[in-house]
Amino acid sequence: MLNRRITVAALAAATAIGLALSPAAAQQKPPVKIAAIAPLSGAGAFDGQLAVEGMKAMAEVINQRGGILGGRKIELVTYDDKGTPEEGVSAAKRAMEQDNVDMIVGGWFSAVALAQKEVTRDKIINVMTSSQHPNVTEQGHKYLFRLNATSTMMSDTYSKFICDKMKVKSVAFITINDDYGRLEVENYKKLLASCNIEVKGNEFYNRDDTDFTTALTKLKALNPDAIYVSAINTSQGATIYRQIRQTAFKGTIIASAGNMNPKLIELSGPALEGVYCVSLFAPDSQNSSLKQWMTQYKKDFKNEPSFIGSLGAQAVQVLAEAADKAGSSRDYDKIAQTLKSRKWDTLLGQISFTDKGQAMQNIYLVQVKNKQIVSVASGS
């Protein structure tokens, strides 16, 4: 914590000196303000922190290149949505009405995204990040975009792998009780049934639970070949993986889509070794923009680059390039049209947006090997 402060202070000082020395008056131009609305306190605080760090690192990369729109720098304004829809709505109102930001990045949780999109609807460009609920982009508001694959897209890819390669006959689920978890179970029940894998049971847990032994004892007694863990929150995920091991479950663990990150592996200990997961983020990819971002990230922050951070970075990257190409940070019709009109080379590979603003991304299959996330084979 302290170290990071010093690093940040040192960086700031270095930048200040650099600016003082540089003769050009590029700084006169106003910055492009992007609101970063993320859970920064409460149960999702760590994941929110990772997200914001990812965004900051990407903004730094772009600013070092000289910014966008002829020398305007990107300035991130962060807001805490506490992981709740009400706070998300308040934060979006504040960003638009008080701080007058140019664009908004938010929606890490589906419930927050669903509420927030009504406030920003048709008023400002709003990129939703990790939320997976299909309804976020279903209605297709004209300024609304979502980066993450929907949970339906994720489970389509993942279930094929589970059916074909994993050699399990039955699965039990431990699922978070929210729209994300409920939808995942529904999807997999259908998808796995189609390849004759029996779903033996499901237990819902709450966002603030810390003890899962009761649920795991119950699931273990059903004797499934595998337990599918649906968890987005790093701290809860790690607790579940640890406790699966502590209840002496000997079968396969299947990790839910998207939440694999270095911290989770570190915290979960041996429980995660060999476990598969699908993700948009494969840290061993050779993408040059990814490498640049990861270098910057490791320089600025003490955490390891994570999926959630890369998604934040992608949001900043796409918005910056789109605004640059559209020639304005405020002409939302033009920016939206630009975003939908072409393919974008991002740190997570090439993506495009549908008419409703849903991103079409590469989905990678990854596995934890020797405490590292390695990609196994590229999916759709």
Binding site: T84, P85, E86, V89, K93, E97, Q98, E118, N177, D179
Partner: protein, 315 residues
């Protein structure tokens, strides 16, 4: 305290949105008015009946859900929502109060905590009705038949909330000067003595508790139709703690106290954004200092001041 100056106060409150001018600060004003209403309702239990409740947020939530569900699924006109919310919240309040008010002190507080938590869990899991943890979004905003006013705008909604707040504040005042209000105080100060003078202690308390829960329900309805999104988190302890802070920092057992307390709460949290991530730490520190050095709440400052004036005048 503000007897003669009431019209002035109302006038000032009336032009506030124009003074602040900016949509976000107007949004803060709406939140203040709604929180003040909720704080007044909690004050009925904490300040007048002298019992601590941890279940109050549940009634706030019940009000919000009642009004949202009835207006979205059953075609209830939105402006009738707060009335329906009051009735349903009062029903739950009366039933829970009937069971819980037989017990006093910390045990009562835990009983209300228990009922609140059960209501929260049911809301969280009755997905068919409440959409569970996903919450309800796109709740219709207030509208008046025949008039085209956009009540999602804070400067419009503020007047709705303000009118309700003033009505409730006036109602509280009328109640507390009535026989019933004096019975509340008698019960708070000494229940056995009150009983000996012929006051039905249990039913007096039940009446106060039910009124308070009905008001919390109204607050919930206003909140839901304004923010247009509600989740079971409305029923969580975080809101109870916030309301307790407003009531006690402002000054319990008064009408102006909780209203000021709500204002301080909203304004302070907003003002402290300047200290960045230390915001909640500084907030907690100020709160604790305020409690230690001003145990009677902010209204006690006024009493001290007035007391000194009076003493000075006499000498």
């Amino acid at each position: 305290m503000i007897k003669g100056r009431l019209p002035l106060v109302v006038a000032v409150l009336g032009i506030l949105p124009f003074v602040v001018g900016n949509a976000y600060l107007q949004h803060m004003l709406v939140l203040w008015a709604i929180y003040a209403l909720l704080a007044l309702s909690l004050n009925m239990i904490v300040g007048y009946l002298g019992e601590l409740t941890f279940g109050h947020a549940a009634f706030f939530g019940i009000g919000a859900y009642t009004s949202a569900i009835l207006s979205m699924n059953y075609g209830l006109p939105v402006w009738l929502g707060p009335f329906a919310a009051a009735i349903v919240a009062a029903f739950f309040g009366a039933v829970i109060g009937y069971v819980a008010l037989r017990i006093v002190g910390p045990q009562f507080a835990i009983l209300t905590l228990g009922f609140g938590s059960i209501l929260y869990t049911i809301t969280n899991y009755w997905v068919d009705l409440t959409r569970g943890p996903m919450g309800i979004s796109n709740i219709p905003p207030f509208s008046l038949p025949g008039l085209d006013i956009d009540f999602t705008r804070a400067d419009r909604m503020y007047y709705v909330a303000l009118v309700v707040l003033l009505l409730v504040a006036y109602g509280c005042r009328a109640l507390m000067t009535s026989r019933t209000g004096r019975a509340f105080i008698a019960v708070r100060e000494n229940a056995p003595l009150a009983a000996s003078t012929g006051i039905d202690v249990f039913h007096t308390k039940l009446l106060g508790f039910t009124i308070a829960t009905a008001l919390a329900g109204v607050g919930g309805a206003l909140y839901g139709h304004y923010l247009r999104v509600i989740t079971p988190d409305l029923m969580s302890l975080q809101y109870v703690a916030a309301l307790i802070i407003m009531v006690i920092v402002g000054g319990k057992g008064t009408i102006i106290g909780p209203i000021i307390g709500a204002g301080i709460y909203v304004a302070l949290l907003e003002a402290l954004r300047v200290v960045g991530s230390l915001r909640l730490v500084v907030f907690a520190a100020l709160l604790t200092l305020c409690v230690i050095f001003l145990p009677g709440g902010l209204v006690s400052l006024w009493r001290r001041y007035a007391g000194r004036q009076a003493a000075g005048g006499a000498s």
